[in-house]
């Protein structure tokens, strides 16, 4: 047989019709009719179910699948296979709350219905009596589920489809979120085991100020949200700011972090200036003045909404971007593979990541090199301000590169900092599209870029970031459920069963034992992390992490910053006393920020790298990459069997465990060391039996082995990729007969 590669490739997309008729199936699948029910979580209620439902397997183009029952509960959509799968039990990285075939309701992104081979997006209104033959669910964690509804009874199919559509798509109230019904008993070990600083008490803030040696003022006047409902309960402001109540309704410069030189980073919400409003100008001057007083009377300010994409831009870009990973079948995969790079570029997502990192580097430069106070502003002060301020802190402060430090940072800047998680993540399926935006995910993406460029500097792994990004959409935790501290407190009070006594307590996401057992949690730690060499005495003390002082650039604090000509005419008086500048004024100036930070980056790069010092990302085109683990983990076509970074990680873990074993042997031998000094969670790296790594796939620990034989994935549609139109393609292969050009 003569098969032309290009011909095979043109094969049509598989239709959405099953080639097996229901009758045939019935014959095969008749006898074992055992009613199966999902293991419900405490507080979980089953709404409806349907059987038999065919769940298509994604691996191949054929329309094969597994039969089972589809349930919809108040927590999730779940599919239970009629066959018992063994893999489920043997998996090392199992989420206790939801499994391979569970979709938390909050995690549903879009539902498509296939009506007469036409794929339609299901919106709330479209659910009438008609139900589709096939239901496709796109999840926020990028899984794609395809269920065939034609084998079950019509009324069941209708019920389950409408049930799922209703619970996943209709606008609803916060009260209906599963977290308020969930009554999982917190595990005993949970209590503060992780020691993440939650920043919900004045002590946390005082401690943090002490750690960074900040010289600012803790505000407790907002304890009952009398100052503002959009502000945290407790926050820190420059000590020079006067009576707070006189600025009511306007933003405050909120302290984020202090550099060891004394200068600090502040953020503030600032309504966009439409006209030269005198009142507004005055308020800005007061804020700047207060910020500048913090250290050496110099301050720079930057309106992030001027130089960074808006949250709508971010949303749009991400919507385009994620489409490349929501792959429904192999043909689509290989077709989209051809234009992969240009598609990526057109989404602009990587460019947004680059812009955010770039901006963060600019701020880092001000703090580290010029020792200037920086005030970043934006309309709300809780979106891009959070992204930039958290990134700056990660780059400058090694404490935030530890797992606990990172979690505390998220608490400080995002959760206590009043990022509007509820609106941004659209947990309630509101129709108002304006306020949805994956800002927090954008932040995690930026962190991932840093992690992959400087892996040994981070105590946590990329798996940790991926899991964290998934956990945003698990409606069990209170962490990402609210729009602000005030919102959290009022809802928690109202929803508490014992309204008078104590507010309801939901687990925080940082209690990882709710989702994973301790074995699985080991995947959160980066085996490459190069811990700081500490002396034993220091270990005892360093329990409260100290600010690192080494590796700062020579302080230029007492020299006027060398850059000229970017003075903003704030007010005449200010101009005289202060060196106040607007960062954004650098735009359009001959040396663009990219060019100036380039020099900063290069001088940093020339010095030997210290993982416990300043860390800067490389922002050149090839350096900003796609977060493979998060985005490609469910696509079987790109799973590298027996390869991928897991191969390296297992080897490293093995070696680390040997080193730790040896160390323990030494410790045991040393009776004088009866008191264990090492407080950090002991990581048992040996959980991955090494022999198995040859069979692990690159998407480990996320992808589930699908009983796939060890076979390669042969691409289809190769010829479409390369339409070489110029004459070269038809040139003779051997050039000896070809007239030489010279």
């Amino acid at each position: 047989m003569l098969s032309l590669g290009s011909v095979g490739a043109k094969s049509t997309k598989p239709s959405f019709v099953s080639y097996v008729t229901p009758e045939e199936i019935k014959l095969e699948k008749e006898p074992p009719k055992i009613e199966k029910h999902p293991d419900l979580l405490p507080g979980e209620v089953e709404f409806c179910c349907a059987n038999p439902i065919l769940k298509y397997t994604q691996d191949d183009m054929s329309q094969r699948g597994i039969f089972g029952t589809l349930f919809c509960t108040n927590f999730r959509v779940t599919f239970i296979s009629d066959e018992k799968s063994q893999e489920e039990t043997t998996k090392t990285f199992k989420n206790k709350l939801y499994g391979e075939n569970d979709i938390p309701l909050m995690c549903v992104d879009h539902i498509y219905g296939v009506y007469d081979e036409k794929k339609k997006l299901i919106t709330g209104g479209l659910v009438k009596n008609k139900y589709p033959s096939k239901m496709i669910i796109h999840c926020k964690d990028l899984r794609v589920f395809q269920f065939c509804l034609t084998f079950t009874k019509e009324e069941d199919a209708k019920k389950i489809f409408q049930g799922i559509a209703h619970h996943c798509l209709e606008e609803r109230s916060l009260k209906c979120v599963f977290a308020f019904s969930y009554s999982g008993t917190p595990s005993p070990e949970m209590q503060r085991k992780w020691e993440t600083i939650l920043f919900d008490s004045p002590e946390d803030w005082t401690q943090e100020m002490k750690r960074t040696r900040a010289n600012c003022r803790l505000v407790t006047e907002n304890e009952n949200f009398e100052l503002s409902q959009r502000l945290p309960k407790y926050f820190v402001i420059p000590s020079a700011l006067g009576d707070l109540f006189s600025y009511q309704g306007k933003g405050f410069p909120i302290w984020c972090w202090s550099h060891h030189s004394g200068c600090a980073l502040f953020k503030a919400s600032l309504p966009p200036v439409t006209q030269e409003d005198g009142d507004f100008q005055k308020h800005l001057d007061i804020m700047l003045n207060a910020v500048a007083h913090n250290y050496l009377y110099s301050a720079k300010t930057e309106d992030l909404s001027e130089s960074l994409p808006t949250i709508q831009d971010i949303q749009q870009s991400y919507n385009k971007f994620k489409q490349f990973f929501l792959i429904e079948n192999s043909t689509d995969f290989w077709l989209s593979d051809v234009k992969w790079f240009s598609s990526l570029e057109s989404s602009g997502w990587l460019d947004i990541i680059r812009q955010c990192l770039q901006k963060a580097v600019e701020v880092v430069e001000c703090l580290e090199k010029d020792n200037t106070n920086v005030l970043i502003t934006e309309e709300e002060g809780t979106d891009l301000c959070c992204v930039i301020s958290s990134l700056v802190q990660i780059m400058l402060d090694p404490y935030y590169r530890t797992l606990m430090g990172f979690q505390s940072l998220v608490q400080k800047e995002w959760v206590a900092g009043c990022h509007a998680f509820l609106d941004r993540c659209n947990h309630l399926h509101q129709k108002d599209k304006e306020c949805h935006s994956p800002v927090f995910l954008l932040f995690l993406e930026c962190v991932w870029q840093l992690v992959q460029q400087h892996s040994p500097a981070f105590q946590f792994s990329e798996t940790y970031l991926t899991v964290l990004s998934d956990s945003v959409d698990v409606p069990v935790f209170s962490t990402f459920l609210f729009n602000s501290a005030h919102h959290r407190e009022s809802v928690m009070k109202a929803e508490s069963p014992l309204a008078q006594s104590s507010p309801l307590s939901c687990p925080t996401v940082w209690d990882w034992s709710v989702q994973f057992d301790s074995k699985a949690q080991n995947f959160f730690f980066n085996p490459l992390y190069s811990e700081k060499v500490k002396h034993e005495k220091a270990v005892r003390k360093a329990h409260k992490p100290k600010h690192q002082r080494q590796l700062s650039l020579p302080s230029t604090a007492f020299k006027p910053p060398s850059k000229k000509g970017f003075f903003k005419d704030e007010t005449d008086s200010l101009k005289k006393i202060l060196r106040v500048k607007r960062l954004s004024r650098w735009m359009g100036s001959p040396d663009s920020p990219a060019a100036t930070t380039r020099g900063f980056y290069e001088s940093w790069k020339q010095r030997p790298l210290d993982y416990h010092g300043l860390l800067l990302p490389c922002l050149d085109g090839p350096a900003v990459r796609v977060w493979m683990q998060r985005y490609l983990r469910w696509i079987p076509e790109v799973h590298i069997m027996g390869g991928g970074s897991v191969a390296v990680m297992t080897k490293l873990m093995e070696l680390l465990s040997q080193v730790q074993d040896l160390k323990r042997v030494l410790e045991q031998r040393d009776s004088s060391q009866a008191v264990k000094l090492d407080h950090r969670p002991y990581i048992q790296h040996r959980l991955l039996s090494f022999g198995s790594s040859g069979r692990l796939s690159s998407s480990f620990p996320f992808a589930y082995s699908r009983n796939r034989s060890f076979k390669p994935i042969i691409p289809t549609g190769l010829m479409q990729s390369l339409m070489v139109t110029d004459s070269l393609a038809s040139q003779e292969d051997e050039a000896s007969s070809f007239v030489s050009l010279v």
């Binding site: 290009s6 892996s455 980056y601 970074s645 031998r669 060391q673 390369l722 070269l728 292969d733 010279v742």
Partner: protein, 654 residues
Amino acid sequence: MEKSGSVDSVESLVKAGQSKRYYSVNVSVELGTSLSSCALISCSSVCRSTKTPVKANFLFCQRNWFRIPVFVVLYYIDFCTSSILMVLKYVFIVCVSTAKDVTYICPFVGPVRGSLTVTNYRLFFRCTDREPVFGLDLPLGVLSRVEKIGAATSRGDVSYGLACKDMRNLRFVHKEPEDSLKKSVFEVLMKFAFPVSNNMSLFAFEYKQVFPENGWRVYDPLAEYKRQGLPKESWRISKVNDHYELCDSYPAALVVPVTITDEELRRISSFRAKGRIPVLSWIHPESQAAVVRASQPMVGQNGRRCKEDEKLLQAIMDANAQSHKIFIFDARPSVNAAANKMKGGGYESEDAYQNAELVFLDIHNIHVMRESQRKLKEVVYPNIEDSHWLSNLESTHWLEHIKLILAGALRIADKVESGKTSVVVHCSDGWDRTPQLTSLALIMLDSHYRTIRGFQILLEKEWLSFGHRFQQRVGHGDKNHTDADRSPIFLQFIDCVWQMTRQFPAAFEFNEYFLITILDQLYSCLFGTFLCNSEQQRLKEEVPKHTVSLWSFVNSQLEEFVNPLYVHYPSHVLFPTVGIRHLQLWVTYYIRWNPRMRPQEPVHQRYKELLAKRAELQKRVEELQREAANRTASSSSERAGSPTRSITPVQTFV
């Protein structure tokens, strides 16, 4: 070769450079009598201040006779591992021309002033006005083009550009020397960069470094076929090409089915392009499915047939009892294969070859690949346009070509491993796309080829002995840079291997530096390995006798090239993922000249640290155990009396 003079003393350490690598020292040298005025000498000495032995270094002599103040650059040991410097330790290189006050227009840091020295082997530029010390050091072999840019300006400046085969361009500006007797650097470059065009021999023939191992003995075809477990009952090693009469681009030893006689082979050779008949490349140790390589059949427009050729393919199929089918993989796009019929070539028709299935792999020809490489160079050098990086990269099609080659090899490997079917691979002449495919498929199928020595054997076998036209494709020492025979075929293959090492970081014994070294030495013309177009030519030129093999160099310092993460799985087949999503541009090769893209610390660095740590701890545990054993022995005799047993405190922090 002249004898080198001896260096008497390193007088003083003038200044220690900021950079770790360089030390500048002024020395006086008494030179031997036969030394020319401008010379580069090598010496070994000890850096006085730090007592660090300096393995290799070299001197720049200025134009004075006898007592010559020379400028020395001493390299640290870590830098000595660079091949070029190892060379200098032993070899006397004639410095042909030095020009002072040259400006190198560096695309990354701007103009740099310094001196430029050209020897018969390489070009060396050292800046004089910049800290940290900045230098350029490249073998002349990497130059593909040397040209003057513009006319001499009124100030007498000449500007010339050097296009390199390793993805960079260099530009120098300097004053035309007043001394007309002295040859200009340009002329010297033109002469020594392209020795072949000037009827001179390549530097590899001058290079006389002695290594503990002789790399020319790495590959022994008979031993290799024995390793594969060639079954004697179905395959034989034919001597028909012993004197390269059957096919001058094939090796002397050919493996064919036992049922085919030498006479039949001769007849087949007239039916296959350039006489490159189907011969065995690899055989599966269990299923005995074979990978066979060939060139295209000379079918022509009239559909010529060859009884013996058909019989041969049938015999190949019969040699494998597991399958009643044979796959013929034609690497070309079907259109090109069909077009070849016009020129007498073509592909196997299904009428003539029963039980054979023909598959086209859609890989483009050398000209398309050359063009793709040219575009890639434009995109990556010197500056990268960040905002359009991805679409620019896509427009080069480089990774798509890589994908197609890998996908082709994957299909071959799949048929052999999963289908247990023998395969025949060919393109047009069977010396470009065919070795790409067969060698990649072999790497996937046979873990031996993933070791350092196995990989050397693979290159020696599939590429060198089977006549990949290295001389033509690379254009060693040839100034005709527009030659349409040049093409980055071998580079693509190494890129594919690199992609596989990225996907399977623990499956290869060698590291990235090994692959880069091979590519650098491909162009450098320092070793004889990649010279000439075929085994026959190399023997005729007596290359193994007069030159050093790259493998001599590599195998003498294996530790440099070892991947610490390597795990040896004996029979482990690798199936890489060929989606563009998992292919990456080889930044550390293609963009290595850009200082911003240099990697900071590779993972295996940390791994090596851990290995060292483990060794250290193991030692300490053993010591303690010994100590404890001694103590229990002594304390039992003492009758456990004293509770205050002093134990050496051990520090246990990482």
